[in-house]
């Protein structure tokens, strides 16, 4: 624009020179005719482009200069905003990663799971695996068809180990075309095997997570060997694990070159433009053709494709996280709005001068908003950098125990969008309230008074409202953090595992001993097999004792007892099992016999019974049960009468036992019958004939666990049993890691909220003291003692703090459910937590106010009065 006018002036000058004027005279005359260049520029600019934007840009530059002058304020605001925007954006990106996991697979929209509905006439008979095998090569409407299922009859959590490293891992068997069907690329090695190849040990693809846990950085995982439930597996490839995608959320995929015969999970990749209905009809036609080839011409099986679900469901934790993030952001915005309000009032004379020079109200608001936009913009940039850092920090610290709840945040455009939305909210909240209220101020009164002191009652109320809101928002976060901290403290105490299970689980290793049917198909003699296995296991170095337990259900869901005087009583035992145990059971678990005696170490022909105190009290409420007769079945059943030999206790503290009793845990709990030589495996309620194996280690439980695992893997080819430390079996370390992580997360939010609220209170009370300097000075001059001054200052803020706490308690009533929902076992309504938090918050509020209040007592009355 400027160039265009300059050009105009030059042309006019040339024109005048051509008419005979000297260059100087021509220039002067041209300029005179033109009028003021600046004026022309100004009036042209108003018409050119977007006047609001241009105005905003000018304001932003002005704001930049103002902020450079007030560096401390600017830095504080940027840091506060960056921290809080980063916190809420991180919370959002965690939720986002749960809802929209980024599946790096070829065209995931064409992946469908297939539900196979068998011919009703054939239910109960196995579905011929040849049929599905004929789909593997694909068809006209689908590219490929893959199957996955349990591995050797075992599905789910297994134990993977390599050297001295042991990790829980989920395992499944997959057909060799599984990964080509999913369409993911290997991170290392390959994801398939040549069909029909069948050499040496089993081969598997492992997840990047398991790779990171079992293999050192820089070490090649392919080809490597790991043990899964004690069986050696060769690693052929590594693939990225996706928490929210059912197909890719395992750790070990065993590749089965001979196919997965009874795999219940099918996956099909559609050809481009094929519809699920077309695929369904093709699969059914192919199935009928294959069925008639194998001599089943009437087999009609339905194959129903449904889109592969991607993403996990949102849990209360996610709402709690997002809520915490947004609350912290709001607190920060309120805080900064308060600060801006104070600053803006202080700059009242500047505003008044601007208004006097013709600045409209919209000019002043634009300028104040521009100042905030510059601050928030800078805060946003820092926040995005912090979020990337936080995402990385969470990625390396998120424990696997909460994999179903939290996955590592992902950097995405949605995350940036959320951060920008948060920033816009911040600009409006921080800027709009002070800007509008300042621009409404009577400029005359401001100019007349000394530089806008903001002492009016209205402003005081406005500051107060902001403080009340901050405290109200901070309270639920602090309650949440304190609840989690107390829960974490409860589960990390050394005695916590003992209180939970009744004995020390640390040296115990738990696994399953499984049998297949004998060749004859008849029952196997548990009584004969158990001692043999236990003998072999006890011979493993480091094993102190070992025992087996088999759960059994009383016949007719009743227990019959004889109370000593010949009277017979039946007790209902719905959904209750008793245990059939080997002689060393209580010695292995180190549970004390508190009355009567333990099972004899050498076993015995007589099946005697040991009860725990609860069960004994329930069956014989006011009598000594030792020597009494009990029958695991109804009075008429053929179950034998057995003698009660002893009462087993636990290692809980007396106080803990009392609180359990008070909680009403008086019912049938533990009843243990000695295993005899006559017992057969068929008495187990499990079709797999499995018994629970408990091993007590003298030293190094993980090493002993590994040896037991190998023993069981060699022993039984059909079922590779999972053997692990009892603490891990109970999920104690995982629970602690998960709680520690969540507590850290919420405590960070809570501390941030509390800190910001305190800062806000400090700010307002300081302003209050500045505003009332004169009054306070006079009171001091009249001889008021310092405590009266402090009380006067605190009185105003205490009202706000208490009001904030009252509103906060109402908010907490809603939010505590979210936190209580995922910690479990915490009394959400427990008044103690609320009271503690309220006291803490109030103390913090008083503490923050105390600093300026005490400073108020040091006001020199003479100086104030003289200044006046």
């Amino acid at each position: 624009m400027n160039a265009e006018m300059q050009h105009h002036l030059d042309l006019e000058t040339d024109y005048l020179v051509a008419r005979g004027l000297t260059p100087q005279e021509a220039r002067r005359q041209a300029a005179a005719v033109f009028g003021g260049t600046t004026q022309a520029l100004e009036s042209a600019r108003d018409l050119h482009g977007f006047p609001a934007l241009a105005e905003f840009w000018r304001s932003a530059r002005l704001a930049g200069r103002t902020l450079i002058r007030h560096r401390a304020f600017a830095i504080m605001t940027i840091v506060t905003l960056a921290l809080t925007i980063a916190a809420s954006t991180t919370a959002f990106s965690m939720l986002d990663a749960v809802l929209n996991p980024r599946l790096n697979a070829r065209d995931p929209g064409r992946l469908y799971t297939v539900k196979v509905i068998p011919d009703p006439r054939r239910i109960g008979r196995p579905f011929p695996s040849q049929i599905e095998r004929s789909f593997a090569g694909g068809g006209a409407t689908f590219e490929s068809y893959a199957i996955s299922g349990p591995w050797r009859g075992f599905y789910g959590d297994a134990v993977a180990e390599r050297g001295r490293k042991t990790r829980a891992a989920t395992v499944r068997s997959v057909s060799v075309n599984y990964f080509p069907t999913v369409g993911v690329e290997p991170l290392e090695g390959q994801l398939t095997l040549p069909a029909g190849s069948d050499v040496g040990s089993e081969r598997a693809v492992i997840s990047d997570r398991l790779r990171g846990e079992l293999f050192a950085e820089g070490e090649t995982a392919v080809p490597g060997t790991i043990l899964v439930n004690g069986r050696p597996i060769t690693v052929v490839g590594v693939v990225k694990r996706y928490e929210g995608v059912a197909l890719l959320s395992d750790d070990v995929w065993i590749l089965e070159p001979r196919g997965v015969p009874y795999g219940p999970w099918r996956l099909v990749r559609l050809r481009e433009h094929a519809t699920p209905i077309q695929v369904r009809s093709e699969l059914e036609a192919l199935s009928e053709r294959a069925a008639s080839q194998i001599g089943l011409p009437d087999l009609h099986t339905a194959f129903v494709p449904t889109p592969l679900p991607i993403g996990m469901s949102v849990k209360s934790l996610h709402y709690a996280l997002i809520g915490a993030g947004v609350a912290v952001l709001l607190i920060a915005c309120l805080n900064l709005a308060n600060l801006q309000l104070v600053r803006a009032m202080g700059r009242g004379s500047e505003m008044a001068a601007q208004a006097a020079l013709g600045a409209t109200r919209s000019h002043i608001i634009t300028q104040l908003l521009a100042e905030n936009a510059v601050l928030v913009g800078l805060g946003l940039v820092v926040a995005l950098l912090l979020t990337v850092g936080a995402a990385e920090l969470i990625r390396v610290t998120v424990p696997r125990g909460i994999g179903q709840l939290i996955v590592a945040p992902e950097i995405s455009w949605r995350m940036v969008g959320f951060a920008i939305a948060g920033s816009v909210l911040a600009v409006l909240l921080i800027g709009a309230v002070p800007a509008v209220s300042v621009s409404r101020v009577d400029l005359n009164s401001l100019l007349k008074n000394r530089a806008g002191s903001g002492t009016s009652r209205g402003h005081h109320k406005r500051y107060g409202a902001l403080v009340v809101l901050q405290i109200a928002l901070a309270l639920p976060l602090t309650v949440g953090a304190i609840m989690l901290l107390s829960f974490l403290w409860g589960i990390t105490r050394p005695s916590a595992p003992i209180e939970r299970v009744g004995y020390d689980p640390t040296p115990i290793i738990r696994g399953q001993l499984r049998w297949t049917r004998t060749d004859s198909g008849g029952p196997i003699s548990l009584g004969a097999i158990a001692p043999r296995h236990l003998q072999a296991i006890t011979a493993i170095p480091g094993v102190h004792a070992a025992a087996l337990a088999v759960a059994a259900r009383p016949a007719g869901s009743k227990v019959t007892v004889e109370d000593g005087s010949g009277e017979i009583r039946e007790v209902e035992t719905l959904l209750w099992n008793y245990q059939i145990v080997t002689p060393d059971y209580f010695r292995t678990l180190d549970r004390p016999i508190v009355s009567g005696e333990d099972f004899p170490a050498e076993g015995g022909a007589e099946a005697t019974v040991i009860l725990d105190a609860n069960t004994a009290n329930t069956l014989w409420p006011r009598a000594d049960p030792i020597g009494k007769a009990i029958k695991f079945g109804s009075a008429r059943s053929a179950a034998p009468w057995l003698r009660v030999r002893g009462i087993v206790g636990d290692r809980r503290s007396a106080k803990q036992r009392e609180s359990l009793m008070a909680a009403g845990v008086v019912r049938l709990t533990g009843a243990y019958r000695l295993l005899t030589g006559a017992d057969t495996a068929e008495m187990s309620i499990y079709k797999r004939y499995e018994a629970e194996l408990d091993v007590r280690a003298d030293s190094a439980p993980p090493v002993v666990a590994s040896a037991v695992r190998r023993y069981l893997a060699e022993l039984d080819d059909a079922y590779p049993a999972r053997v692990e430390l009892l603490t891990e079996y109970l999920g104690i370390p995982q629970q602690i890691a998960a709680m520690r992580f969540m507590t850290a997360l919420f405590t960070a939010f809570g501390v941030l909220a509390l800190g910001l609220a305190c800062l806000g209170i400090y700010g307002i009370v300081t302003q209050h003291v500045v505003d009332h300097r004169r009054d306070l000075g006079i009171r001091l001059a009249l001889g008021a003692p310092p405590r009266v001054i402090v009380a006067a200052v605190l009185r105003a803020q205490n009202v706000f703090a208490l009001l904030g706490i009252a509103i906060g308690l109402a908010l907490t009533a809603f939010t505590a459910q979210w936190i209580g929902g995922f910690v479990g076992g915490i009394g959400v309504g427990e008044v103690a937590w609320y009271a503690t938090t309220c006291v803490l918050l109030f103390s913090c509020a008083v503490g923050s106010a105390l600093v300026p209040a005490v400073r108020a007592t040091r006001i020199a009355p003479m100086e104030v009065l003289r200044a006046d």
């Binding site: 624009m1 265009e4 050009h7 105009h8 033109f34 009028g35 009036s43």
Partner: protein, 112 residues
């Protein structure tokens, strides 16, 4: 000859008409517009640039003229304005209105 410097307040509406009319003969840059108006009015009207450029931008925003950046023979960057179809239609309307208006003013002034 008496010369009239066109100010914003004097000929607010008629300046638009004059600029549109000056561009009927072909595209011109800002100085060219002012010179052509001066010539066509036989030196009676001289446009103050403080009025000219805001008017040019206003007409451009309304879509009646289109400005394109080009290079002058001396190598200077210049903006050349030309009349758009909408501008031609607007010119026709304004000419009709002006004729009516000036005739009316003439009749008033000629009245005894």
């Amino acid at each position: 000859m008496e010369r009239l410097v066109v100010r914003t307040d004097l000929l607010q509406g008629s300046l638009d008409l004059l600029i549109l009319r000056s561009l009927v003969l072909g595209p011109l840059h800002g100085w060219g517009v002012s010179k052509r108006l001066q010539e066509l009015s036989r030196d009676v009207l001289q446009i103050n640039q403080g009025s000219l450029y805001p008017a040019l931008y206003r007409l451009e925003r309304r879509g009646w003229i289109a400005g394109t950046w080009g290079t002058s023979p001396e190598g200077r960057k210049i903006k050349v304005y030309s009349l758009t179809t909408a501008g031609r239609e607007q010119l026709a309307t304004e000419v009709r209105e002006w004729t009516l208006f000036s005739a009316a003013v003439g009749r008033i002034l000629a009245a005894e």
